[in-house]
Symmetry: C2
Subunit: 264 residues, 2 copies
């Protein structure tokens, strides 16, 4: 018999909210988790905003959270870089998350000196040919430079339609340089393992809840967890019947308590 | 004993010229090919300029050529699309090569109707987040839309340094959509096969000459040809000792007659 689930990792965008609109019932489902004493951590591939802004956003939607309850790729990446990379870091990340790398020596993106690593985040409209080419040239200064990705999410659902996320730009640099990125975001296992260690729980007793079949469901299952797919956010009916199969599908995060009770 | 070489495919940028400078002795080596009656075809991944402009550029460097002696990815792609794809085509190619697709129905890149194919060329500075996202959204309108690449070249050597070429942007769209591109440029075999059929020669009697280890040497060898690497253009000493091994390395295209004589 499978181990009982007793902890949750919860994606934010598309699960708790869509754009600026809270998913109806999401706040109540989180209240239920707290009442039940089930540990949870918000895990997001959002690499464009610091945790304090995410806390504010949640508060505006009626959801209480603290920065320490949110694991973002920049926070995970800064730790990885401190442990694994010597030499200055060239950041191609959203302005709001630069402070997450404050402890690390930064490189001059337009200089000539070798860089220890090039970090790629979600720049959105901030990407231009010139900027992507600058990241490429930083990597080509030395064969030793590491390419570090704040996630490989392919796209997200903005209010005006689908928008490219971090993954495609990392893929562009991988193709251009022939190097593989170290990924510190979903679906990469090191990111999920960091989340489990923050909660102090094991993969087999933890369930991920997300709207991204590859990033959330495939990633969590790859790290040994179970995973629930919600029919909100970027969910599309074609997500069903794919090689990646969620443990279960629920209409929205609001249905978590009902599903949890039925699964015991 | 290996079949004697009796035909050549010749890369242009980096082999015949670097930037606006002719490789010394290149024109004389071509004169030698003509005198010997050895058939040759210029094969280039340049997808930003029509063949007439390439002919003009060569003329300015003292090299006589006609459009029919040059195979470009847009010309190869237009033929492939006419044979394989129904529905309108969304072009993300340099302005100068749009005319190569004049026989095909074109899609509205900002519309909603499904497109038969999205064609990606070298837009250089023309790439922005908005433009790449537009190509992505065109592809996402239908699961049937084909992603067609005018080459997968990773980068080229401009006068101010290395610059991203078509490949990284195709890789970005492949990652974003989960689809594989149909590639009509070096190193893809269909492109080399088209070149051989234009010359009416077999792969085993033909030799490719190029400066790009992966695009020229690996691609030609993959299509069954021999391949000479020149130490000009984007050549770097680290190209030697890689898994892809050229048939031989010559200092520049000017050394072709000497190498050819020694190889008999």
């Amino acid at each position: 018999m499978a181990t009982h689930i007793r902890a949750f990792l919860i994606d934010m965008d598309g699960v708790l909210y869509e754009g600026e609109r809270a998913i109806p019932g999401a706040a109540e489902a989180l209240d239920w988790l707290r009442r039940e004493g089930l540990p949870y951590l918000f895990v997001t591939n959002t690499s464009s905003r610091p945790r304090s802004m995410l806390v504010e956003k949640l508060a505006g939607l009626g959801i209480a959270a603290e920065p320490g309850q949110i694991l973002t790729p920049p926070v995970a990446a800064a730790g990885w870089l401190a442990a694994h990379v010597e030499g200055p870091i060239a950041l191609f990340v959203a302005e709001g998350t630069v402070s997450d790398f404050a402890e690390l020596p930064l490189a001059d993106p337009q200089g000539e000196a070798p860089v220890g690593a090039v970090v790629i985040g979600d720049l959105g409209e901030g990407w231009s040919f010139a900027r992507l080419n600058r990241a490429f040239r930083c990597l080509m200064r030395s064969n030793e430079s590491r390419l570090v990705a704040l996630g490989m999410t392919r796209y997200w659902k903005a209010e005006d339609g689908l928008r490219l996320d971090t993954g495609p730009f990392v893929a562009a640099l991988e193709q251009a340089t022939g190097r593989s990125a170290v990924v510190l975001g979903k679906p990469a296992a090191p990111f999920f393992e960091t989340a489990l260690s923050v909660l102090g729980v094991g993969a087999d007793e933890t369930c991920m809840i997300g709207d991204d079949l590859r990033g959330d469901i495939g990633g969590a299952q790859g790290a040994g967890m179970r995973a629930l797919l919600v029919r909100t956010g970027k969910f599309q009916p074609s997500d069903l019947g794919q090689p990646i199969r969620p443990t279960a599908v629920i209409d929205s995060f609001a249905d978590l308590p009902t599903w949890f009770a039925a699964s015991r």
